[in-house]
Structure formats: structure tokens, C-alpha cells
Assembly symmetry: C2
Homo-oligomer: 307 residues x 2
């Protein structure tokens, strides 16, 4: 399969590294970047600055978008789908706003839109959920979906750090993506919840309507600890009287409760269904390697579906 890539940051480079180990015949064409000079050490990578070289190239079957941001990622992805190219993307902010439109484009032009890497880092939640809704009915979804805020809360509670100290630590370790405003405010978790709700309930919930509780300096960590409880940023999707409800809250979990022990950048997603009851997945919610792994799950699935 001939593929190309938009963006070559941490995730893009990890995707490329994993490509080197794939025995299957995946042939990487152009990789779009803004400043080719920054990547001089990648001599074998065919870096370009003109997106049309990818969008208009009829040989490229699949495009991996890991540039992030709403624009111009949205325009590039739409253009690729309109030319029948499969798109694999990790862009949760974009999907939370345009998933139905992009899905419709993929359907119209007989190609696939894949986004395993958009939720839960390396956890295969999208494939699992997509598969599950074919044989079961989802009743609710709950999860710790933002690695940075979970890292920060863990460091504050276990390490006694202040919010600012914990955040700097997360940024030093490379977990906090460009600015932490999306993480601590619950926006990042809200984006992911909207994507999950779309798959589980086939309904589009405007991300602006997701109720969010922010993580701020005046969290009373001590008060929770006194009651042997742990503070976690948890996302909730539920159906109440036929209505979909999505919110990101700061929950005080008793220490006997399993997600109280989901620490650091680990993510945790619990599906409650009619026949299974509760099914949970837990794993690395951030990091280049984990996200690249999910992108490769999509690429391998696409390669299979072409056979």
C-alpha cells in the first residue's frame, strides 16, 4: 500500500520508525512538513512542503494526518477523502467538530476514515467499540481520558506537588502537548468523549455543550485524602430519558474503586453494555510510540480490507 504523511512531529516520527519494522509492503511516499531543514537527520524521508504533491498524487492510497490543529488539517483531510484516499488521523479536536461531515465524505467517495489514535493513545478502544456495537448495546461510557491531567493530579496527590510544579514536570516529560489549557480545562477529554459517543450511539453531540469542571490551584487535595479518596478527572457519557449526556467532572473516588488506581499518563475506559455488563481497557494514554501503534493498527486494518 502506497501511503503518505501530513506532519512529522513526535507521533509522525514514531509512525515512520515503526514502518521500518513492518515486513508488509507499505511504501511511504511524500511527508509534508513546514520546515524541511529541521529534519536533516532523516535522510531517507522524502520531505515536501507542498500538500498538493500528496493530495493530487493518484498513487497515494492512504494519508496519515499527524500535523494536528483544525486548519489546514481539515481542508487537507477533506481534499484527500474527496479523491478517494483513506485517511488515518489522530486529530481529536477536528473529529469532535467535523466527524459526521468527514464520515459522509468517506462514504460518498468509497474510502475509509480511521481514527484509532484519536482516543486513549495506545488503547485499541475505537476498534473494540466499533466491533462491540455490532453485537451489543452500549448503555454508558466512563473514562480517564486525558493523560496530562491524570499525571498532574497523580503528582499533586502522591508527590505533594503544586499544580504548576506538576504541570512543569508533565511538560518536561513530554506528556503535555503545546500548552496545557486543553488538558486541565477538560476540553481534550470532551473531544474524545464526543468521538466515543458518535461511535456508540450514532449521535453527534456538540463539543461546546459538554459540561466541564476545570482543574485549578484551589483543589482541596488534603480533604479528599483525609477520607481515603482520590481525585480524578473522569469523563462520563450516559443516556438519561433518551437524551445523550456528556460531562467531564472531577470525581472523588474511594480507594477501593479500581479507577482510583489508574495513575500517571495511563488512560482507562469503561464500557457498560446490555449483555457484557462492564468492560474496561487500560493503557498508555499518551506518548509517540503508543499513538503510532494505534495508527499502525489502522494501517494494517486498511491493508487487510483492500485484499
Amino acid at each position: 500500500m502506497k501511503w503518505a504523511m501530513l506532519g512529522f512531529g513526535t507521533v509522525g516520527q514514531a509512525v515512520w520508525h515503526q514502518a521500518q519494522r513492518q515486513r508488509k509492503s507499505f511504501s511511504l511516499g511524500h511527508v509534508l512538513v513546514r520546515h524541511p531543514d529541521h529534519y536533516r537527520q532523516f535522510k531517507q524521508v522524502d520531505l515536501v512542503t507542498d500538500p498538493q504533491l500528496i493530495i493530487e498524487n493518484p498513487d497515494v492510497e492512504t494519508v496519515v494526518e499527524v500535523m494536528g490543529g483544525l486548519h489546514p488539517a481539515a481542508e487537507y483531510i477533506s481534499a484527500c477523502l474527496q479523491r478517494g484516499k483513506n485517511v488515518v488521523t489522530a486529530n481529536k479536536a477536528l473529529l469532535a467538530r467535523q466527524l459526521p461531515q468527514l464520515q459522509r465524505l468517506a462514504q460518498t467517495y468509497h474510502c475509509h476514515l480511521c481514527f484509532e489514535a484519536s482516543v486513549g493513545g495506545g488503547i485499541p478502544i475505537i476498534h473494540t467499540l466499533r466491533d462491540l456495537v455490532r453485537r451489543d448495546r452500549v448503555l454508558a461510557i466512563d473514562g480517564i481520558l486525558n493523560g496530562t491531567s491524570n499525571y498532574v493530579l497523580t503528582a499533586m496527590q502522591q508527590g505533594g506537588l503544586s499544580l504548576q510544579q506538576a504541570l512543569s514536570e508533565a511538560q518536561q516529560k513530554g506528556y503535555a502537548e503545546r500548552g496545557s489549557d486543553l488538558d486541565l480545562t477538560g476540553w481534550d477529554a470532551a473531544n474524545k468523549l464526543v468521538i466515543l459517543a458518535n461511535l456508540a450511539f450514532h449521535r453527534f453531540y456538540p463539543v461546546e455543550k459538554v459540561a466541564r469542571t476545570e482543574i485549578t490551584d484551589d483543589l482541596d487535595i488534603g480533604q479528599a485524602a483525609e477520607h481515603n479518596q482520590v481525585l480524578k478527572q473522569v469523563g462520563h457519557i450516559a443516556i438519561a430519558q433518551g437524551k445523550l449526556k456528556i460531562r467531564v467532572t472531577l470525581d472523588q473516588l474511594p480507594a477501593s474503586h479500581l479507577p482510583a488506581h489508574v495513575d500517571g499518563v495511563t488512560n482507562w475506559i469503561q464500557l457498560t453494555t446490555e449483555h457484557l455488563g462492564k468492560l474496561s481497557l487500560m493503557g498508555p494514554g499518551a506518548g509517540g510510540d503508543a499513538t503510532a501503534n494505534s495508527i499502525w493498527q489502522d494501517l494494517l486494518w486498511l491493508s487487510d480490507s483492500q485484499k
Copy 2:
């Protein structure tokens, strides 16, 4: 897809019930039972006592085996595969002894052997692991894999029951399958570990060689509790100096350790891989509905792969 079923116990009936809700065109033919009189209330089900009606029927594409036991299940499954029929089975004891032979038969006769329901009840561990090994390298697997023994240990530690009391309770609730000797002795967990090891490492480990610690009356529950620890039957698969090692142990887990909070019939499986680090799945490890759900995952996958 035309399918038939061998066995019609708790799991078989749950599979049939879920079939009623599938909109897809799955057409159920004969169902093999020993005593059709026992199932008089199932008027729409075409019960037969002669396996040849299924094995020799050229219209049957897929056979679901939920009769259990080594014989004659092994002979029926082999006969079906040799006629090019896909087989979906939950029979972990059989797979732990004959998986390589049965896989070879499926390959030779161009059909599929599916066994999602054999490990972890309703947890989609087989599909997840099969998919994961294509893009990552598994380093170790750990898990709470036997619902009955976990139920018994939970009841002994949290409810203060004796081993016998806890076991009767598990049997009353329908968790302990015919006799509990396979559960408490670790044989059931050993069977499941051998199946997982086969998928993860493409090696066959004789189930007789799995080291097992049994759950007996003289467990010192109090001593563990004093140290704020929890006793769990845990299965381990690891590679040490190139050698595969499988064992079922009674582990004392600190309460801060996540699997210490996996209670009752819930199963938990943790995959440690090169790129992801740790990925865990948790869900119902027993129960007709959960197991039937996994069998339907296989049936839907088979239906897709025929397109």
C-alpha cells in the same frame, strides 16, 4: 451464513438468544443435543442427536461448538474442519491440548478456527492479542483468568467465608462449572494461558508443564490482610533467557496495586509489549451472556471475512 451448533447448555442457549437479535442473515440449522426432551420449550430450535447431520451437511458453513469436554468434541471439530467448515469454540481444555493440530487442519482445508470465548469470557482478548502481535512484540502476559477462583477468594477475604462456603455460593450463582477441581487447582487458568501463549509467541507449551499453586483450606487470609494485601490466583507468561515460562500462582498483591481490586467473577488480562508498555483488559470472565457475546464476535468476524 448458514450455521449449526454442537451443544445447547447455558452458553448455547445464550448464543441462540443473541441470534434472535441479529439483524444480519445468520441462518441456524441443526443443534446437536443428547436429550432433546430436555429442551421442549425451545420449539423453534431444530434439535438433533446425530452429529453426522451437521458434519456431513454441505450447506453448513460454520459450526459453533459449546458442548465442552475433550471427547467427542475433538473428533467433531476435526471432522468439521476437514470438510472446510469454520469452527467457533469455547473449549479451552481442548484447545490447550490440540491447538496446533486444529490450526493446521483449518489451514489445510481453507477454513477458520475461532476461539474468542475460550479465554476471558466476554473480554475480547483473543481478537485484541491477534491484532496486536502484527504490529508489536509481546514480552509478558499476566492475568486473573479464572472467575470461580477469583469469586471464591473474594468471598473468603471480603465476606469471611470458608473455602467450602465460598465455593457453594459460587456454584449456586452458576459460576462454578461442573465440579470446581479445574478452577481451584489452577488447571482452568493453565489452559487459558497456554492458548494466549500460542497466539503471543507462536509456541506450544504443554499444559501439563504449567506450574500451579492450588487454592486450599489452609490459606492464611488473615496474614495477608494484616499487611494490607490481597490474595489472587494470577497466571503469568514470561520469556526468560529465550525460554517460555508459564505458571499459575497465588500472589499477595498490595492494595495499591490495581489487580488487587479485580473482584468476583471479573477477569483481568495485562499484556506487556515492546511499544505500548502495559495494556490491560477487564470484564466479565464467566456467564452465559458474556461468553455468547464473544462467540458472536467470532461469527460476525467470519461473516465479514466471507464478503
